[in-house]
Chain length 374, copies 2
Amino acid sequence: MEDNNNTVDKLVRLFGSQKAVAEIAQCSPNSVSNWRKRGVPLKSAKAISDNAHLKNVDITMQQIVDWIDIDKNIENGAIKSSDFQNSKGEANYGRLMKTLSSIKSHGGVQGVYTHQSDATHTPMTFSVFVPPHEAGQTLPVLWYLSGLTCTHANVMEKGEYRQACAEHGVIFVAPDTSPRGDGVADDPDGAYDFGLGAGFYVNATRAPYSNHYKMRDYIEKELPRLIAENFPADMSRQGITGHSMGGHGALTIGLRNLDVYKSISAFSPIVSPVACPWGQKALTGYLGGDQKTWEDYDACALIKNGAHADHLLIDQGLADDFLESQLKPDLIEAACRDHDIKLNLRRHAGYDHSYYFISTFLADHIAWHKEQLK
Amino acid sequence: MEDNNNTVDKLVRLFGSQKAVAEIAQCSPNSVSNWRKRGVPLKSAKAISDNAHLKNVDITMQQIVDWIDIDKNIENGAIKSSDFQNSKGEANYGRLMKTLSSIKSHGGVQGVYTHQSDATHTPMTFSVFVPPHEAGQTLPVLWYLSGLTCTHANVMEKGEYRQACAEHGVIFVAPDTSPRGDGVADDPDGAYDFGLGAGFYVNATRAPYSNHYKMRDYIEKELPRLIAENFPADMSRQGITGHSMGGHGALTIGLRNLDVYKSISAFSPIVSPVACPWGQKALTGYLGGDQKTWEDYDACALIKNGAHADHLLIDQGLADDFLESQLKPDLIEAACRDHDIKLNLRRHAGYDHSYYFISTFLADHIAWHKEQLK
């Protein structure tokens, strides 16, 4: 991030003069001078990106926002925080995101981004790999939901997906697993399996979790909009996968939105939170004791209630310490058999619950999703 | 690690009775009883592994050692530390290593091991990936030396080499970058580029570094012996590569031992420590100011002094922050041209110094090494 002077200087260089910047931003040259002190208002950034083509300049809203350190400007009083509040006075950066890092890999770009989420009312960080592609081309999107304790970073560092995404032309999106930050309630005992890092992809209804734990809305509604607007994504071709708690997330979000996610797979998923200690603790904590409200968040229940995917692909290691107590793939095998869903459940001798397992088969999943998303 | 009772119990189960264990260990049944209190002596473990075939039992020294928690036994007085001392009274576990973890991945096994090094007089940890292979088959070995601040773990987690190693049948060994532990001297200011995590693959001659910083001997002599004895390695087919400081290590160790390492490559190597700040600081610190003693540790100097590799492969990112100040690939390009060495120096636009770069091209290197090691 650079300071405001530099942002104005960059705009002046781009458009040729301060006067030209003012014209394109639909304000007076004096206002542009003031930006050097108070920062570039978002509405002016929007006007600039909307009208830049009139001066034969190619610049996106995102690029301008990347030049502006919003948090710093709010802190310094250079930008009013009311510019970023919704009608309820809550923080609302809208659809803007900031680039935290952007690194070339396998011919594409592995980026990490953050934005202020309307769903969770917190900043949310996520990673996106965009493989090499032709200018103007749009690509299918594979969502990867992570497991307990993970952030966007685990699969980014250990998943070994970029080679396959480059080969098959697939965008890979990895969100965080919960809201985070001051004021976000955690497990009362700080346990790893509830609260921070353990959002379970639900919309919490019980206080104090209902303030921020809206991971269902975040993954289903808010983040796809951001992806669609900021990346060369063909949103008519989306697939979803995930690991463990994220496998549960992929199965349930996929099964609830079969029109959106054309392909669904999972690694070592919690196939029935209703029937295992991790899930029972999480669903009780986020939703309360009425088990009827749990059914939307249980892949086996969704299948029994009529969700009919064309295919499901699941990989499961047989040396996985959580196999018997938490994961129980037999349950989804039975549900799929009873409801005529083609499930390819592959049991792998010797493999455990780690990324050493996931990375062995993630390229396979990417190829499979690409095939479904043709 | 399990306790001694369990080790004895396991031996009894293996050989059928305590008496049978005593026979095979060439001691009295009373001694075996005593092992339950004082631990299994290494010499008895050795006798058992040597003679197990007489009872049609297949067990290696390594397997028995893995059952014995040596450090705990020494601590408890159950095993005498003199069992592990050499004639100078220094710790000496000889060629024994302990398995810290062993996880299935890509059809093979990714392991992490530790042993007491004779070269550095410290414990040393390293990782080895053994790809799937036929029983009795031996495989070529690729050494990967890591860069500043790294341990054995960085490339293991982020290098994305296992798929290619499985495909090409190559064992991948990643050592640590320096000795570590109490009493190992570090950079006086705790800087990242000298001391711990920055051994520069030299044999230090200056106090206080000369006590432990013998990474040249460790990589060239000691660790290969351990690898040969404990893994299905064909030591007549070894290649070497590495990154940054480890690229320097690979080039210099390779060029000094052309009969041992049949293929040499590097990622973003320090090609001439003599000619860059990182190298000048390290060589002064470890060897002193006489630059004549530095030449053994400078790839360009080794080439000028007659080391003639058949081929070298180097990948370098052009968005690497250290390119101009520290890495200077032009220098080795000139040295190879002057001395008729075929250098394939690939410059990659947009790539930086990170594992996002390395992981993009490491599979290429593995295929190239395998081709040289046929």
